[in-house]
């Protein structure tokens, strides 16, 4: 296995008495899509700034692509694409001119730059607005231009700071598709921060959840949701009429820990997703099923525990 792209140990950032990032350890391997999740104000952006050398850590050490971002920011910035939380462009310049400036700052030869800019703008579906001043772009268009800007330098690692913020559902789907495309076809490693766990979990190989400056959970999405037995799956079945024997049939299924019927609603707790077995068993016992819903308890728990509190605060 190759060396990790990002490695941090005991990384901390304090502002006076306030600790924004509190001794976090993280590691990112080549080719991963890493979800960096947590409510607003949990320290995600500050961590990202430290990875890019845009702010200095108070404590701990971090290497990005083998370089220290504070001491050797150029080496890091040559290979890392960064999309800030609110991406800004020069409003008087056209989309193309804005990208040309980025290309010049990266010392990309003129001819190469022209070709790549054209390709990238087509890819982010801005081909029609190429010569329009960015001041006239909508928020979604600016975000897409931001993606083109990030990819212009052909980065090894892309860091996206809350890219779904302010996008509509279609925009989010488009963006997740693009992230998958970048990861699979261009072999770019991606660090994606988000305040919306449920939106981005499908594209992430691994996630870390931050809360109050600490990483509280880290692992693959499936390992986080596997639960510890007390949580697991909750399945709610709506039946047309409460027939005797349904509850017993459900209780007898392997993996089911409890089943209760109240009115027309059968609630089943299980260690794993037993919906197929449950449905056939209920039908075999004469149940007329109207609806079957499964709730993944642990993911919901995570959400309530770490994200809601942030939203309320």
């Amino acid at each position: 296995m190759s060396a990790p792209l990002i490695e941090a140990h005991g990384l901390s950032k304090r502002y006076g008495a306030f600790t924004a990032v509190d001794h976090i350890d993280m590691r990112l391997d080549e080719g991963e899509v890493f979800g960096f999740l947590g409510p607003n104000g949990s320290g995600k952006s500050t961590t990202i700034l430290m990875l890019l050398g845009l702010t200095e850590p108070s404590e701990g050490d971090v290497t990005v692509l083998g370089h220290n971002p504070t001491r050797d920011p150029m080496a890091v910035k040559r290979q890392v694409g960064y999309l800030p939380e609110t991406v800004g462009f020069y409003p008087d310049l056209t989309g193309k001119q804005n990208l040309e400036y980025t290309a010049a700052l990266n010392r990309i030869p003129r001819a190469d730059a022209d070709r790549r800019i054209k390709e990238l703008l087509e890819m982010v579906e801005l081909g029609h607005a190429i010569d329009q001043p960015v001041g006239q772009y909508s928020r979604g268009m600016r975000q897409r231009l931001g993606f083109a800007d990030v990819l212009l330098k052909q980065p090894k690692l892309v860091i996206l700071d809350d890219p779904t913020l302010g996008l509509d559902p279609t925009g989010i789907q488009w963006l997740l598709g693009l992230i998958e495309e970048m990861s699979k076809n261009q072999a770019i490693t991606i660090l994606l921060s988000s305040h919306a766990l449920q939106e981005v979990q499908r594209v992430c190989d691994r996630v870390a959840i931050m809360s109050h400056g600490k990483i509280v959970l880290q692992g693959t999405v499936t390992s986080l949701t596997a639960g510890d037995g007390t949580t697991g799956y909750h399945i709610a079945v709506e039946v047309r009429s409460a027939k005797p024997g349904l509850v017993e049939a459900a209780r007898e299924l392997p993996g089911v820990t409890s089943a209760d019927l109240s009115g027309n609603l059968l609630t089943v707790h299980a260690e794993r997703d037993v919906r197929p077995q449950l449905i056939s068993s209920l039908i075999a016992n004469g149940g007329e099923l109207l609806e079957v819903r499964a709730r993944n308890r642990s993911l919901e728990d995570i959400y309530l525990r770490y994200f809601q509190e942030g939203a309320l605060a």
Binding site: S45, L49, L52, L54, T55, E56, M74, K77, R78, V80, G81, Y82, P84, E85, T86, V87, G88, F89, Y90, P91, D92, Y101, T102, A104, L105, N106, R107, G146, D149, K153, D161
Partner: protein, 313 residues
């Protein structure tokens, strides 16, 4: 830094603000030429063998000299080009995007400053060429060699003077996040150094060395006043340009200690003949150095603030 320099330069020339500056230049040119023609026709000015230089130095009736116009309005040009240099990038969100590219932070300040100085030089040189051209048209003869040397010296002093104000405004734009605040603070300093320091110099001189019939007291009074006034860049500029452009009449306004620093034999000659161009340049050299030192001090502060600062989007 090259990329930043060229982009900023293109920005300067593309802005509406720059048209305003060209308007000021046009007014300045007409001002100088009008005052001179008045003087030539009415014989009100102090005309001498340096007729070309008189375009810059002679006033007529209610209108003060072109020199005064430049020393008063010149700083506004420098301030206009610099007051939002860095903080507008912050508010547009472009700063974090630019600094995520492989660019040294000081290159951002330097590129912007050098582009501004170039724009200032273009403004000043074009104004002088217009004045010389119109002057030749009206007076009917070309400037002599010595006059050209003096005008070139004047150009350098003017560029250094406006560059000082540009540096001050750029520094303010690093320290103050709000463009309005940075404009107001720089304008405040401009007013303070233009009027209040000169008033204070007067008061201080009268306090420490009250005027009496004694010539030594008068010299001391004048010396104190001059040295305090030199804190003001506008005063430095006026002193230097006076020496350069008004070799004859300036001797009466020449700070006494400048005259005293010359040997008695020189002093004797001075009362009768103008100082040579080389001598004038030697006299103003410290002024140019003082202005450049001012720029260096300001930039040291700006770098210290900017180099390790956190850049949030």
């Amino acid at each position: 830094m090259n990329a930043i320099y060229w982009k900023e330069l293109a920005d300067h020339f593309g802005r509406r603000r720059f048209l305003l500056l060209l308007g000021l230049v046009a007014i300045g040119t007409l001002w100088g030429v009008y005052v001179t023609t008045q003087a030539v026709q009415g014989g009100t000015g102090s005309l001498d063998q340096f007729l070309f230089l008189d375009i810059f130095t002679s006033g007529s009736g209610v209108l003060p000299s072109l020199l005064f116009f430049i020393s008063f309005f010149g700083p506004l040009i420098g301030i206009a080009l610099g007051f939002d240099a860095v903080n507008s990038e912050r508010t547009h969100g472009t700063l974090s995007r630019i600094l995520a590219q492989p660019v040294y932070r000081d290159a951002v300040i330097n590129g912007k400053f050098l582009a501004g100085v170039t724009a200032l030089a273009v403004v000043i040189v074009s104004m002088e060429l217009a004045i010389i051209g119109l002057g030749m048209f009206i007076l009917g003869f070309a400037p002599r060699g010595e006059e050209i040397v003096r005008i070139v010296g004047f150009t350098l002093v003017s560029i250094a003077y406006l560059a000082f104000w540009l540096a001050l405004a750029t520094t303010a734009s690093v320290f103050l996040r709000n463009t309005v605040a940075s404009a107001l603070v720089t304008l405040g300093i401009w007013l303070f150094s233009g009027f209040i320091i000169l008033l204070l110099a007067n008061v201080a001189a009268d306090y420490f060395a009250p005027l009496s019939s004694n010539a030594a007291d008068a010299a001391r009074n004048f010396s104190i006043q001059t040295w305090i006034s030199r804190v003001s860049p506008g005063f430095l500029f006026q002193e230097a340009t006076q020496t350069l452009l008004d070799p004859l009449t300036s001797r009466s306004q020449q700070p006494l200690d400048l005259i005293f620093s010359l040997s008695p034999e020189r002093l004797e000659g001075l009362l009768l003949t103008p100082i040579s161009a080389a001598e004038s340049l030697k006299l103003v050299w410290p002024h140019i150095v003082a202005l450049i030192t001012g720029v260096a001090i300001l930039f040291t502060g700006a770098y210290a603030k900017f180099m390790r600062e956190e850049i949030r989007s």
